[in-house]
């Protein structure tokens, strides 16, 4: 069965454009122009991905994230034209899985949807991560970059694992602090230092990272695409 996508946006042009684009990728697309309509639809159908605009006419998009989750919506990607980092962080901490700034590129949107589906549809937690350049075994802690073994410290590995388990999706600083230090209030300076160390080991050019990219003011994203 085709994956079910719910587009929640009051701007008709967005729905009008995305419906054929996503349809061409064999997704089954439903649209909702308000928070009330979105919740009504989510009650009837368990969507795989919801694309949620934060500026809805009848409610702040953030407020319906928890409800969508309660109605078995598996993954929520926030579409935001209000580029305020604090708002994105609030939505992510409130249960959203990812965000995308408007205006966005269609390729980027499709990549985010694929990452969200991959994560929400895997039945059991993955044992390993494999992409073109990176191979990570979560059980043995073996890491290979460009087919060469890379030695990581336990903290570096914990952070890399968190990023790999959300490959293609943003991981907030809070989530990474939890993964590495079991404490969301730990010193962000430590996180920054470890990300720098990881990049020195896993980036071709650590000064312009392509694998572990910074989502300014929000967190980090592992850009690796999975091997099919």
């Amino acid at each position: 069965m085709a994956d079910q996508i719910l587009i929640i946006d009051d701007e008709p042009a967005i729905a009008q454009t995305l419906k054929p684009v996503l349809g061409a990728q064999h997704y089954s697309v439903t649209t909702a122009a308000s928070a009330a309509e979105a919740l009504r639809r989510a009650r009837q159908t368990a969507y795989d991905v919801a694309l949620l605009d934060l500026g809805l006419p009848d409610a702040d998009g953030k407020e319906i994230i928890a409800n969508l989750r309660a109605f078995n919506c598996r993954s929520i990607i926030v579409l935001s034209a209000r580029h305020q980092e604090t708002e994105k962080v609030a939505a992510l901490d409130g249960g959203a899985d990812d965000y995308l700034n408007k205006p966005f590129n269609v390729d980027e949107l499709l990549a985010r949807i694929r990452a969200a589906l991959r994560r929400s549809q895997s039945a059991a937690p993955a044992q390993s991560f494999r992409s073109r350049e990176l191979k990570v075994d979560f059980a043995t802690h073996r890491v290979q970059f460009m087919d060469e073994d890379v030695k990581l410290s336990p903290k570096e590995f914990a952070l890399l694992e968190a990023l790999c388990r959300h490959a293609g999706q943003v991981v907030t600083r809070r989530q990474l602090l939890l993964a590495g230090w079991n404490d969301p209030a730990a010193d962000g300076q430590n996180l920054r230092t470890y990300i720098t160390l990881l990049r020195q080991k896993l980036e071709v050019d650590p000064s312009e990272p392509r694998l572990i990219v910074t989502e300014t003011g929000v967190g980090y994203r592992l850009m690796a695409t999975l091997e099919s």
């Binding site: 980092e85 205006p103 336990p154 230092t193 160390l197 300014t216």
Partner: protein
Amino acid sequence: MSNRVIPTKRLSRAWKRSRASVILFFIAVSVASYAAHATERPITAALVYLIGVMVIGATRGLRAGLIAGIVASLVYSGIIRNPGLQDSDVSLEFYVPLFGFNFAALLSGTLAGRLKDRAELAEEARRQLDLLLEFSSKLQKAVRIEDIAQALHVTLSDHVIRYYIAPYVDDNMEEPSRSGLQRVVDMAMAADPDAPKTGRRFTVQDVDLPAFVDLLSMAVDRCGLLENRAEMQARQQSEDLKTTILSSLSHDLRTPIAAIAASATGLKRFSDDMPVETRTEMLEVIEHQCARLDQFTAKLLSFGRLQGGVAAAQMEPADVTELLGKALASARATGPDHVISKDWPSQPVIVMANPAMLEQVLFNILENAFSYTAPGCEILIRVTADSGDANIVIRDNGRGVSGESIDHIFEPFFRSPHSKHTNGQGLGLFIAKGFVEAFGGTIAGRSPHAGGPGLEITITLPLSQQIGEIEVDG
């Protein structure tokens, strides 16, 4: 009013000290006069006494001179000339010189004393004038209330300000001047006690209170007017800027919209008759112009943030090198063929800033460098951290900015005369400067080869205080 406060404890102590020496001096003169009289030198005796009275009058003022004259008359006539007044043989010859002496003693005491008092008054007036002149010259430079308070603080002691100036202002000044003056007085008293007091040599007697407070009041009024004017000018400038932005919107928004609309309409109506390359080209125009619109709206958003001010709550430790990498990746999209020479530490360089705004700053400068240099040209990016500052240098070897224009590159809507054909809106560097300054940093531009090609932008931001050593495991 000044007379009311001039007699002070200090004054009366000094007076007591001087009174003792006057009495001693008078006794010495009396003894000398008696000795002269006893050795049959009556004229010398009278002269010694007269000189004594004159000296007292001249040095101690009218009151002391008068008292000395009277006492000298009594002593002279009672004891020296006629000891015990036993002699009953009184004649005109006895009284005339005695009367003459008494009169001369009183007169010389009075005259010398008045002369002394006049001189003292003149001296006091001169010192009051000195103080007023010195204070008014300090006030000349004052443009803010704080400057006035500082001038007051360094001119007079806290004691004088607290016990003479402040009560005078409270009792004698009227609104609206009073509240301004009270503010100045309070600020002067709260000022740094270690600031050098050039005016310590002035004492309470040197303060002509009404004139001094008048001077102060005029300065306060003047600063009030200046502040109002500055405020109005700032408001006017902000309004002008908004107007300019609105008018530029018409150009900077409508030009890309026109291109998009033309491409879309063309594709809709004639796509069947177009070769594939033309269709692709038109679609690329749409994509490119959309990107341009997006960048412009991002700048407008930044401009809005700048107008709203950057609150301390929006600031957090941010890594300059990380944000540079990110900004560079975005900027490369606008000029893929440029050669970038990167020179920055592999360790984080942490400053206090809003990361998104700092990224926008770096992107704006890089975008500017990219758009003014031909493909294949080199752009140098260097970050150094030393003596508490992070220095970011971005240098291109593009067309550069001519001598007099370099001072204007951070002004809104400034475009170099060479930039007619580039797509900048002239907001990028203006926003960069606004954000950098909001983070407590500085930004400057210069021509790396005086008057020649290239532009070098240097940003200096204070390094964030390191939060202890980082423990690195394994």
